[in-house]
Symmetry: C2
Subunit: 401 residues, 2 copies
């Protein structure tokens, strides 16, 4: 039996919907990967009674609870007080925490406001979790059957505290048997087409399959039980990948924790080959360039109204080819040119699709890929950028004939 | 006293952190604007006992509950069954719902799978909420002190059902006295600088002020009680706006529901003036273009490596000015050119800032704006794009001398 875990968030900005609770999603992902059974998320605002009641409930119900928010210096930051009331642990002034808070301000050459003194008050018997990035220390406490860890709501501080102070404790406190998640990332093929291709494959006992689609990418998630035999895992992963061919651009493994993305893969390949790219972003309109904010290999990216659109391109792609040749002449090793093939006027229409040609000119050959884009204009733009990068990826990986 | 409202989400993908619960945030915003006191969000997965227990709790605790997810055709979609068990309302086959589901498939020339029959089973005595966008009808039911509305988890279907079926009911079922939210949107100034400028202003009794910062934008939120006198509201809003000058690019009012954004404002102004813009995106690298996917007025946007960076630009901006002149010569009415002024190598370094010059050449004059960018490279890029667009906005609104 996996230990159960709940996520608890404090903050009016979450309860009132000013921000989505991305901390809860991030912490849940970590917990699932560690081998917890995540059972519930709860968010409440700054009413002390709500907080106290909820903490008592969770202490009876879950084995572990990861909590964010409510550790700040202002009067609506009530988490420590709520813990004190819920579990009868009076607040105690922590001199080490106070010295850290003072030091935080000293290093920034600022005077510590009196209100920050409150952040050094921790429930009696709790363990302080030092926070190198902000003024609020976290703390952990065992209450009832549940081990609680309290973190600040600022995402960067929360992630820091989780990685540095909580993660090491979780693996010693709990007997965790994490499932293993293999994620196949695909581009250029839709979710239903993938399901159709995978239909003949029988799922082994105990293995689960799931799909997750976003703009320009569909992920296939294979969940294997803890200690599933390595050879069987590899054989089944290969069987899933085979019918998808070069649509699969990455296979991630939760055991390594590495998360691949298309731009990162191209970054590495372009670096190895020492190639430089020029792009005419007729359809993606700058989106390709903006996806690569620090890429040395991107020599230029440009959008010009009225270029490479519509009729001229349907006439044998001569315009596109000559535009690509111009880009190579400007000093690039490879050139990508996008062109509308039909229904350019549908680009801004949510329910209508638009045809696109993506032309890649390289030192050894030229390639043309054709797609249809759909969804709102921002999605079409992003699809065009990612599909163009993917043509380049397949060239670099030797997948283009 | 405002009626209390809770948000309840069903779905393993939320509890396991595969997606952030943006439905909960959106529904909370709507509820707050309508005049509810939102007290809690809860998300649970597909365990029937959890669902039943939670529904019973909420029925005792809240006046209204907006629920999403769990209405699909698969066995882990348990919401209707959980309502039936929690409140003793056996599931009844709804022939109208069934006809709608069949019709959904007929219109798409597909055969209805048997599993979808389940979606026509609704708790006895509940009111069906017709869903024009998907197969799952929603339903509403009164249980204990709480009026529950159940919607699909697909965001587009959820929003449709909320707007068409739930919103009209809420305003008749509940005595709502909504606060009025005035949002001043600023660009080119940080949150602490704003707070410093606003420090001398006294907040009137009953009015609350809040801040929300995102990349390139800081919002000032003024919350006025229901029926706050119009003249006093306007006077206070003006007092807040005055010291911020042309940093304020929009003032939104929850009474109208309109939500302004910088690109939309520029869209309208460029349309009125019939001007066309060319941009050299040295720093934003395509991000400006990608923010304007359907703008007719964007004649071109381009990024070239090595152009308008570093030393040449510090020498009196001659390079930047001549590049802008080239863009005008290419057929644009206005040209924006970005150049690094110093520390170009810091662009990719998260903790370091980079200087940027933004040069605008227009039919009547030329303008230079200088900023420092900070944060990760993607943020610097986005700031550069938004600040460039803002120079154009201020020119179009006559704010540039």
């Amino acid at each position: 039996m996996k230990p159960t875990l709940e996520i608890f968030s404090q903050g009016e900005e979450i309860v009132c919907g000013q921000i989505a609770d991305t901390n809860a999603a991030w912490l849940s992902q970590q917990a699932v990967q560690l081998g917890f059974l995540v059972t519930r998320h709860t968010a409440v605002g700054d009413k002390l009674d709500d907080l106290v009641g909820l903490l008592k409930e969770i202490a009876e119900r879950a084995d572990c609870c990861l909590c964010t928010g409510g550790l700040g210096p202002t009067t609506d930051d009530l988490t420590a007080q709520a813990v004190a009331e819920a579990f009868g642990l009076p607040l105690v002034f922590d001199t080490v925490a106070f010295a850290q808070i003072q030091d935080f301000f000293t290093r920034r050459q600022r005077v510590m406001p009196d209100s920050n003194r409150k952040q050094a008050l921790l429930p009696k018997g709790s363990q302080r979790l030092d926070n190198a990035l902000g003024t609020a220390p976290g703390f952990s406490v065992q209450a009832g059957r549940c081990w609680f860890a309290f973190m600040p709501g600022v995402p960067s501080e929360m992630r820091h505290l989780f990685a540095e102070r909580i993660l090491p404790t979780l693996s010693t406190r709990f007997a965790l048997t994490p499932d293993r998640l293999i994620t196949l990332k695909t581009i250029g093929i839709g979710e239903s087409a993938i399901q159709e291709l995978l239909r003949p494959i029988t799922l082994p006992e105990g293995v689960a399959i799931g799909y997750r689609a976003s703009v320009g990418e569909v992920q296939i998630k294979l969940l294997f039980p803890h200690n599933y035999p390595e050879d069987l895992l590899n054989r089944f992963t290969d069987a899933i990948a085979a019918p998808l061919g070069d649509k699969v651009f990455a296979v991630d493994d939760s055991n390594t924790g590495h998360c691949s993305d298309l731009v990162g893969i191209i970054d590495a390949l372009m670096g190895q080959r020492q190639l430089r790219l020029a792009v005419l972003e007729t359809v993606s309109r700058g989106c390709l360039g903006s996806l690569c904010p620090t890429a040395d290999w991107l020599l230029s990216s440009a959008y010009y109204q009225g270029v490479a659109s519509g009729d001229t391109v349907c006439d044998g792609n001569e315009t596109v080819q000559s535009l690509a040749a111009d880009l190579i002449a400007s000093g690039a090793d490879c050139a990508l040119v996008q062109a509308f093939t039909d229904n350019k006027e549908n680009f801004a229409v949510r329910g209508q699709s638009t045809g696109i040609n993506i032309y890649l000119l390289t030192p050894d050959a030229s390639h043309l890929a054709q797609y249809r884009l759909s969804g709102p204009s921002g999605h079409k733009q992003q699809q065009a950028a990612l599909l163009s990068l993917d043509v380049l990826r397949r060239y670099l990986q030797g997948c283009l004939a």
